[in-house]
Amino acid sequence: MTALLVAVVQAAACMGFGATLLRLLRIDDLMPAERPGWSFALGFGTLGWLVFPVALAGGVRPAPLGALLAVGVVLLLWTRPWRGVILVPPRGAWAWLAVTLMATSAAMHLLQGFAPPADADTLAYHFARLRDFQTLGRLDFVPRAVDGATPMLVQMTYLPAFILGGERALTLWTPLSSLGMIAILLPLACRWLPFAWAAATTVVVVSAPGWVYGAGSGQVEVRIALFVLCASMIAHPAGRGSLRHAALAGIAAGFYAGAKLLGLLFIPALGLVLLRHRRWLLLGFVYSAAAVAAGGQWYIWHHVQSGDPVFPMLYTLLGADPSTGWSAQQHDFFRTQFSKAEAVVPTSPTWLLAYPFVATLAAPLEWEAGRTGLGPFALMVLPFALSAAWTRRARLAAHPLFPAAVALLLFYCAWFLSGASQRVRHLVPLFPVLVLVLTVAAHRWGRDRFHTGAVVLAFALAAGIHLAGQALFARNYALHLVRGESRDAFLARNVIHYPVVPWLNARLGPGDRLLTSQRQLLYLLNVPYYFGQQTFQALIELRATDFEADRAWLQARRLGITHVLVTPALAEGSIEDPLARLAHAALRAGCAHSLTVLEVPEFGSRTLPTLRQRTSSVEVLRLDTGNCVLEAAR
C-alpha cells in the first residue's frame, strides 16, 4: 500500500512541477484536456532534473527526496492543471471499443508493477545503479561506456520511488509513468481526429511491441517519448516566433538529451525547424540555451569525472582521465565490437531508405525488431498518408504537424547515418509522433474519398496483433499475481542464472567483492561486485585480442576482487565468458580454487520460455593469494 501511495504521490508531484513550468512560461494555448498530460510529461523531466543535484550533493535519502515530492504536490494544489477538464463518456460503439482496448492495454502494463524486475538492461543498470546510489547515499560515476557513463535523467525519477517505497514502488512507477503517454496523446490527437480515431491511435502506440517491452521495465525510451511529443508539438508555435514556446521546446528536447545520448541528435533536428522564422537567431538562441540548461547537467558531470562529456565517444579528441582506465587499445576494441554488434548494415543512403521496411518485415536479429519493434501500422497507412500529403502539398508547410514531421525525418536521417546502434527500439521515443502524423494524414486521405475503411482495417489489424503480443507478454505477470508466487520463484523463472544469486548472497559478505560478467544479476546481488565486461570497461582489461593474465590479475586485485563468477563452468572448456580466461590463468597459477558449480536454466525468452531452453552451469571461484604466482608480480 505504501508503495502504491509513493507512486501516486510521485505522479502528482510530477504534474505539479510540470504545471508550474507551463505557468512560468505562460503557455496558455493548450486545451484544458491537454494540460494534465503535458503537466505530467514536463514535470517528469523536471523531477529528474531536480533529483540530480540533490543526489549529487548526497541527498539519496528519504528526507530530501520526500521533501522534493512534497514541493511538487504543493505546486499541484496551487496550479490545479485539471481545471476546466470536463469528462464526458465516449460516444458511439467505435469510441467505446477503442477506450476499452486502451484500458485493457493499460491494465496489462500495470500488471508488471506487481512483479519483481526481470528485464536484463533494467537489472544491469537502470535499477542496479539505483542500489549503488542508495548504498553510497549519493551519485557515483562508473567509467563504463554505453550503460555506465550515460545520462540518467529518467533514472533520477526512479530514485524517489525506490528510496521512499522500495522495489515495489519502483516497479509500479515505471508502468504508471509510461501511461502518461495516454494522458498526453489522446487529447492531443483529438485536435485533428474524431475521438474514436484518437483513441485508436493511442491504442496502436501503447500496445506496440517496442512500447510493451519498455513501458513496465526501467528502459528509458518509452518515457523519453513524453518529451519528444511535447517538443515536437510545441515546435509549431515556437517556429512562428514565440520565444516562450521556443524555450519550452528547448527544455523538452534538452530532457531527451539528459536521458539518452541520442537526444543530442534530436536537439538540432528540432532546432532546424525553428530557423524558418525571421527571428531565427533569437529563437535559436533561446531554444539552445533552454536545451543546454535542461539536458547539460549530466554532460558537465561526466566531463568533470572522465574528461569526456560523452565518455568515451570523444576519446580520440579529448583522451580520458587515467582513473577510467580507458586506453587507445580499449577504444579501438570498443569501436570494432560496437560496430559489429550494433551497426549490422552499412550507413548508406540506400539503407537509409530501406531500413524502415526491412526493420518492419525482415529485420536482422540484431535489430530486435520482432520483440521490440514498432509493429505494422506505419507501413499499412504509409501510402494513404503520402497520397494526402501530395494532394495538400501547397499548404502542407502551414500544418501544425509539419514541423514535427520534418524534425522526425531529420532525426531519423541523423540517427541512421551517424553509425549509432541500429536497434529499432532507439526509435521508440519518436514512435507516437510518427503514428500521430501518419494517422492524421491517412484520415484526411480517407475523408477526401468518403471511405476510411482501409485505415480502419489497418487500425483493427495493428491493434489486434499488438494486443495479442501484449497479452502473451502480460500472461507471465498475471500468472505471478494469480499464483501468489514468491519473489525467488518468479526470478528463477525469469532471470537467467538466477539460482546462483541466493547462493552468493548467503555466503559472501561486505568484505568480499565479486567479479562477474552476468549483467542481469547485478541488481539482485546484495554483496559488493564489479561488472567485468571486455568491451565497455577497462579497469580490468579482459579483451580477447590482447589478454594478459598478469595484468588482469593485478587490476582485479587493485579493485579488491575476492571471488569470480564464470559461466559456463570451467570444466566445460568454453571461453565464451571473458572472465573464463582470467579464471583459467588464476587456477593454473595457484591463485584460485573453485567453491561451487551450479546447474542453471537458460532460455531465450521470458514470454515464451520453451524458446531456446537449455541447461547451463555457473562456477564460483575464490581467489587465493598465499601461493599465487601472479601475486608475486604485484
Binding site: G375, P383, A462, I465, L608, L611
Partner: protein
C-alpha cells in the same frame, strides 16, 4: 468493388500478412504455453 476502392484494402492486408509472417517460427513456442504444439 472498383480497383480504386479495392487497392487500399489489398495493400493493408498484404502489409499485415508480410509483417505477421515473420512470427511463424515462434508459433510452436506460443502454442506450448497451453500445452499444445
Amino acid at each position: 468493388m472498383s480497383p480504386a476502392r479495392a487497392w487500399p484494402f489489398l495493400w493493408v492486408a498484404a502489409a499485415f500478412l508480410a509483417y505477421a509472417a515473420q512470427f511463424r517460427p515462434i508459433i510452436g513456442a506460443v502454442l506450448s504455453l497451453w500445452g499444445a504444439r
